[in-house]
């Protein structure tokens, strides 16, 4: 298990006060905080060896190139990728998914084909496929969910058919916490010759993820949700699929030879990385991966599982609260959406904020899911390695106060002073 007390010391922001209260950061599904080692790696880069990478003949450039490619190795190892070249840097999960939409999907999805997603996709794993479907005359199929917020097991199989060309699905839902059975779904989709893209934005930071084990064709994730800096993410592509993919962005670095009217492409992964890359943040993501690897992803998952169990048991005791997502923590990541029919999530969020507690409120970029659940917005607390039971207790206590504040007309008279 994790030594959370020691971990917390590594995160400078956790010393911060908000409105005079200690920060209780429970918005990790939006973005995680960063340990000192990650921040320091940026400083080390810019103060010590900042230079453009590849082909530079001078010392700084060689050093930067080494560290930059070493970070790619680290990320590849972290997700069990067979080769570092199968990891392409992107800005975030969204760009990674769009890259697949603009390249592999644009070229391979044909009229009459079906793209299958679930009802709990983040907009970033839905809207790009809407365009591909429309442009290519394909159909988008949406696997429905049950009231408990899991893929409807009685229906899922019927959605993956001979017509399926791509299954694009999240491994962990950012709105519900649901862990989807992506390994068995991948197997099913492959049996019909379909390719599988896994949106790992909420899984890669929180549990062991191995692309060889999952056997997926694409895995997209964001550095900023896994202790890394903003502006860097990655797309893993299975080597034989990647080999055949046309480039996405065109320009410097991704070409081999250029004439006025044509160009040939560079080898992998450069072929997909036009222009000067986000060198510093790639290196810093490598440092984040080092940090997580040292903790052990099994331990990270175990910590979150236990904390989620604890949080669910506490939140359940607030009767006025509706909770969403599976109650079995073996099927759930550390994401805790809740809702009260009388108090809007925004009001809850503002109340919690004034106590130093950061949560997110809204549709969490999953409007179709919200619509399917018959609501517009939820409040969502989401956990990570540095969160504690004490913080959960604080959340629960202030939440009770908030509900009283907004629903009990007499509260003001009762307040001292």
């Amino acid at each position: 298990m994790l030594d959370v007390k020691a971990i917390r010391k590594n995160f400078p922001i956790l010393d911060r006060k908000v409105y005079g209260k200690p920060l209780v950061y429970l918005d990790n599904a939006a973005t995680s905080q960063k340990p000192h080692s990650v921040i320091q790696s940026l400083v080390d880069y810019y103060e010590g060896y900042n230079a453009n990478v590849h082909r530079g003949v001078h010392a700084l450039s060689m050093e930067a190139t080494d560290k930059y490619e070493e970070a790619r190795h680290k990320v590849a190892r972290f997700i069990g990728a067979p080769k570092p070249e199968s990891v392409i840097w992107t800005r975030n999960t969204s760009e990674a998914i769009n890259l697949v939409a603009y390249t592999w999907a644009a070229a391979n999805i044909k009229a009459g084909d079906e793209i299958v997603v679930s009802q709990m996709e983040h907009h970033s794993n839905l809207v790009p496929w809407q365009k591909v479907a429309r442009d290519n005359g394909a159909t988008l199929q949406v696997i429905p969910i049950t009231k408990e917020g899991v893929l409807d097991p009685s229906q899922t199989d019927s959605f993956i058919t001979r017509k399926t060309k791509l299954l694009a699905i999240n491994q962990v839902s950012n709105s519900l916490g649901t862990i989807n059975p992506v390994k068995s779904l991948t197997k099913k989709a492959h049996a019909f010759g379909a390719k599988v893209l896994i949106d790992g934005a909420q899984s890669v930071p929180h549990m062991p993820v191995d692309v060889k084990d999952l056997d997926c064709d694409f895995l997209a994730f964001s550095g900023h949700k896994m202790l890394g800096p903003t502006g860097i993410g990655a797309l893993y592509v299975k080597p034989d699929v990647l080999e055949k993919m046309e480039p996405f962005l065109r320009g410097g670095e991704m070409v081999l030879e250029v004439w006025n009217d044509r160009a040939t492409w560079n080898g992998l992964p450069m072929r997909f990385e036009a222009g000067t890359p986000n060198i510093a943040d790639a290196i810093a993501l490598g440092a984040a991966v080092d940090y997580l690897t040292a903790l052990g992803m099994d331990n990270v998952r175990e910590h979150e599982k236990q904390l989620t169990q604890y949080a669910l048991s506490q939140l359940k005791q607030i009767e006025e609260l509706d909770l969403f997502g599976p109650m079995d923590v073996s099927q759930r990541g550390g994401i805790l959406p809740f809702h009260n029919s009388e108090v809007h999530p925004h009001d809850l969020g503002t109340y919690l904020d004034r106590e130093g507690i950061a949560i997110r409120t809204g549709h969490h970029c999953t409007m179709p899911l919200m619509r399917a659940m018959g609501i517009v917005a939820t409040a969502r607390a989401s956990l990570y390695i540095y969160n504690t039971e004490e913080e959960v207790d604080k959340l629960v206590a202030v939440l009770k106060d908030a509900l009283r504040y907004f629903t009990d007309g007499t509260k003001r008279a009762n307040r001292p002073g």
Partner: protein
């Protein structure tokens, strides 16, 4: 623990706001109506529905129904009260003044005369993400009014 937060929060959720939120004014739909507008903020699901019946160029009956967070609901109710007996031109001036106030621009005091409750919305400025909630009723009204002028 919560006491000190309430001190801050009471700036936002002042008595005026909470009163309007709990006892919305002019909330019955008006039918038939001369002005009619519906506004939605898809991000948070806030909704406003507005109807005004005019008589001699002034609001004779006002109806405003709102859904969503307390700031939106209170703002809608404050607006419902403020529109009583106003000409469309005066409604426009009110809406613009509220928007200017939320932008932190110097407020044109005369507009607020006789509408003390409007001042309560000023507190929302301290909570920037909530400004949109407070403005939804007013932008909905403005859209309808300028739409009519086109």
């Amino acid at each position: 623990m919560a006491q000190s937060a309430q001190t801050d929060l009471d700036d936002l959720y002042g008595d005026v706001i909470l009163d309007h939120c709990r006892n919305p004014r002019n909330s019955n739909p008006v039918e038939p109506a001369d002005l009619r507008a519906d506004g939605v903020n898809p991000f948070c699901g806030d909704e406003v529905h507005l109807q005004v019946a005019l008589k001699n160029g002034r609001a004779a009956r006002v109806g405003v129904q709102s859904v969503g967070c307390s700031i939106n609901r209170a703002s809608a109710s404050i607006m419902a009260e403020a529109l009583e007996d106003k000409t469309p031109a005066h409604m426009s001036a009110l809406a613009q003044a509220v928007r200017a106030m939320m932008d932190g621009k110097s407020s044109t005091d005369w507009v607020f005369q006789g509408h003390a409750d409007l001042r309560a919305l000023e507190q929302v400025r301290e909570f920037p993400v909530r400004i949109k909630c407070a403005l939804l009723p007013w932008t909905t009204l403005e859209d309808e009014l300028t739409g009519r002028q086109d």
